[in-house]
């Protein structure tokens, strides 16, 4: 390959990295931290830990779902390939008995076919996760004016992804409030929340990084009992729910990486073959 091309590509990559890196550095919050050991779904070969996804779903169901909807999620997603409760015996997740029983515990709204009256019935795998509030004003009214965001793609919608979620709910609420910071009533200081606290800062030096969040500390030790006897610390709950939300933001990502591996190998071999064809065809041309 010509030297110039290599140089050009390197420069282009550098330029992209520069632009991207700068764009990301703009937020006014502490850098989100991944849990020790990182995420096992990171990288081209990373896979989700099924037990972790199951625990994460339990945290979402028992804690987060009281205020946060997941409008893009259906119960069947829990039993699809790569999902927390996937069972190879049931290629159609709607047949998965475990998913059926999980859905059955939740009541969803429906219309009575005979009378047309609104009714409640147990969910089936084909149902969406029901939203905790009927509409936005109702959600705001119950949460001191703040709107709990939908969590379906939250892991992609925040810089830092799962590490941000882990840091926000697992680490940030335990951080001591810096002396000299007046936290408004009904708000909580969190160093990982993007915001600007300078107007409430009376201490020395520049205002601390972070923001005031309306969500009270959601997790507590032992708040969720894990079926697999994993110790239920705040950090463990945060880690598991962040992994679950990372999966929910793109349930097909394991398929993407697996497909990608095949595609990359195929493209690489094709590149090698075409390169040698090129060398062979051009061998007698002086250029």
């Amino acid at each position: 390959m010509s030297k110039m091309l290599r140089k050009g590509l390197a420069l282009a990559a550098l330029g992209l990295a520069l632009i991207g890196g700068q764009a990301m550095a703009a937020s006014e919050a502490d850098e989100p931290r991944a849990p020790s050991g990182g995420w096992n779904f990171d990288g081209p070969f990373g896979k989700f830990d099924m037990a972790q996804l199951q625990r994460g779903y339990k945290v979402y169901r028992e804690v987060c779902s009281a205020c946060h909807a997941m409008d893009l999620m259906y119960f069947r997603n829990l039993g699809q390939k790569g999902g927390p409760f996937y069972d190879p015996k049931y290629p159609n997740p709607n047949d998965n008995p475990y998913v059926k029983s999980l859905a059955k515990d939740i009541q969803v709204k429906d219309i009575d076919n005979d009378t047309g009256d609104p009714v409640q019935r147990p969910a089936t795998p084909a149902d969406k996760f029901p939203a905790p509030f009927p509409n936005e004003p109702a959600a705001r009214a119950s949460n001191g004016g703040a709107l709990p965001p939908d969590l379906s793609v939250i892991s992609k919608a925040r810089e830092g992804g799962p590490s941000y979620i882990y840091s926000l709910v697992g680490l940030g609420f335990n951080a001591p409030v810096p002396a000299g910071l007046t936290v408004p009533a009904g708000k909580y200081f969190n160093p990982y929340f993007v915001g600007d606290v300078s107007s409430a800062w009376h201490g020395k030096g520049p205002a601390p990084k972070g923001g005031f969040i309306s969500m009270p500390p959601p997790l507590a030790p032992g708040k969720v009992t894990f079926d697999d006897k994993t110790p239920s610390t705040v950090q463990q709950q945060a880690k598991d729910v962040a992994a679950f939300l990372a999966w929910a933001a793109e349930p097909k990502q394991e398929e993407r990486k697996a497909f990608g591996l095949g595609a990359m190998i195929y493209l690489f071999l094709l590149t090698v073959i075409v390169y040698f064809s090129y060398r062979r065809i051009w061998r007698n041309v002086s250029h």
């Binding site: 390959m1 700068q22 793609v153 990359m264 590149t271 051009w282």
Partner: protein, 440 residues
């Protein structure tokens, strides 16, 4: 399309067809036997890469349009539904979204190759202008495509860009309302953007055909920038360049696939995963990376109308490039001074891109502004950096190009593609070295 046809119909059917619709002859002469300079380097493979990217965008786009719902209430969820529930929808959607970035990456390489090797000079001016038309259409298409997922950046980007038209005196407001189909960016806007986003690629494809036609009349330029003298200077396109382009395409696809499969969101903005909400404006509204330099030029000017004019001028100036460059030597291989200025131009584009990505009042050096105000902004701020970048951007086209061609002393240019430079520059007669008027 040019020169002597080498096609000889072999079968009875081909002879019959050749006297009625010589389409096989046409394909043969343009895509197979087309005489191509034998010294083209890898920078020349990006034309083929671009053709492939247009094809990929059209094919994936047609499938996406089968599942996408152009309605403010459903657009965001329908894109997510494509990823979650459509068979291989995630693959098609990520290919399309990242394909746009790859398309622009390739077009920028293609444009810089033109600038370096002077491919826009006579007799290829029309070829160049058609290329500029394609680039402009690509920008419009990409902008409207980015609106379709109806995320926060989609919506507020559309608001910012369509509002620019409103800066025009007298008619601005009416045109903006007409574009919106209402009094704000809303459902009618999304619908027409979807319709036009589907239409534009086919317009681009039409101009691409003209572009290739205009290429095949004078034939390819080449790294030496000298004209093809004889058949010995060329090789038939097939198999020589199909295989060379093929190799480059494979390498390019490897990079493209790395993005699609392993970092599909790396080039996008996280905030676009939040559904559009007209009442909540994102802290920093930025376009996709490939439009950042123009965004920086727009924001460099304190007056909105002047900013808009300058931003459009940054693209318009490309159209008259063949007449701004006074040098008769095509390839910058023989123009060391011009090479230096082009290098700075490339850096200026990166700097402008950097400026476009960051808030205007952000300091460049350190974390504190210098406290020294020059006119309306702190000297240590993105504003002033983008002004310097924009100044050089225009100076390169409007001052450097016309003046340098008349004043510089190019290196000796070889007589033809097959011959080396006739003599070492040091030993060359003075007349040969200083010949800027010489037709390459």
């Amino acid at each position: 399309m040019s020169g002597h046809s080498t096609y000889e119909p072999k079968t009875g059917f081909e002879r019959w067809l050749d006297t009625r619709l010589p389409i096989i002859r046409f394909m043969n002469d343009t895509a197979l036997d087309f005489p191509t300079p034998k010294n083209l380097n890898y920078w020349w493979t990006f034309g083929g890469i671009l053709a492939l990217m247009l094809g990929i965008q059209i094919v994936t786009g047609i499938v996406l349009a089968m599942h996408y719902v152009p309605h403010v209430d459903y657009a965001f969820n329908s894109v997510e539904r494509i990823r979650r529930d459509v068979n291989y929808g995630w693959l098609i959607q990520f290919m399309h979204a990242n394909g746009a970035s790859m398309f622009f990456l390739a077009v920028y390489v293609h444009i810089f190759r033109n600038l370096y090797y002077g491919s826009y000079k006579a007799p290829r001016e029309v070829l160049w202008i058609l290329g500029c038309v394609i680039y402009l259409l690509m920008i419009i298409t990409a902008f409207m495509g980015y609106v379709l997922p109806w995320g926060q950046m989609s919506f507020h980007g559309a608001v910012v860009i369509t509002n620019l038209i409103g800066a025009l005196p007298v008619v601005g407001k009416s045109i903006t309302t007409w574009l919106w189909g209402g009094f704000a960016v809303d459902d009618p806007t999304l619908n027409r953007f979807f319709s036009l986003h589907y239409l534009m690629p086919f317009v681009i494809a039409g101009v691409v055909i003209l572009h290739i036609w205009a290429l095949h009349v004078p034939g390819n330029n080449n790294p030496k920038g000298v004209d093809v003298k004889s058949k010995a200077d060329t090789v038939p396109f097939q198999p020589y360049y199909t295989v060379k382009d093929g190799f480059a395409i494979c390498v390019f696809l490897l990079m493209y696939a790395t993005f699609v499969f392993y970092m599909p969101d790396a080039l996008g903005d996280a905030i676009n995963y939040v559904k559009a909400n007209p009442l909540v404006t994102p802290q920093h509204i930025v376009p996709e990376w490939y439009l950042l330099p123009f965004y920086a030029i727009l924001r460099a000017v304190p007056n909105k109308l002047m900013g808009v004019i300058l931003m459009f001028a940054a693209i318009a100036v490309l159209f008259i490039l063949p007449w701004l460059d006074t040098s008769k030597v095509r390839s910058m291989r023989y123009r060391p001074t011009a090479r230096l200025y082009l290098g700075i131009f490339f850096l200026a584009c990166l700097v402008l891109g950097f400026c476009g990505a960051n808030p205007p009042d952000q300091p460049i050096l350190g974390h504190e502004p210098s406290g020294f105000m020059l006119l309306d902004a702190d000297i240590n701020s993105i504003v002033w950096l983008s002004r310097i970048g924009a100044l050089y951007y225009f100076a390169y086209f409007l001052l450097v190009m016309p003046i340098l061609g008349l004043t510089e002393t190019p290196l000796p240019v070889p007589e033809g593609i097959s011959e080396p430079v006739l003599s070492h520059p040091a030993a060359a007669p003075t007349g040969a070295a200083a010949a800027p008027e010489k037709r390459g």
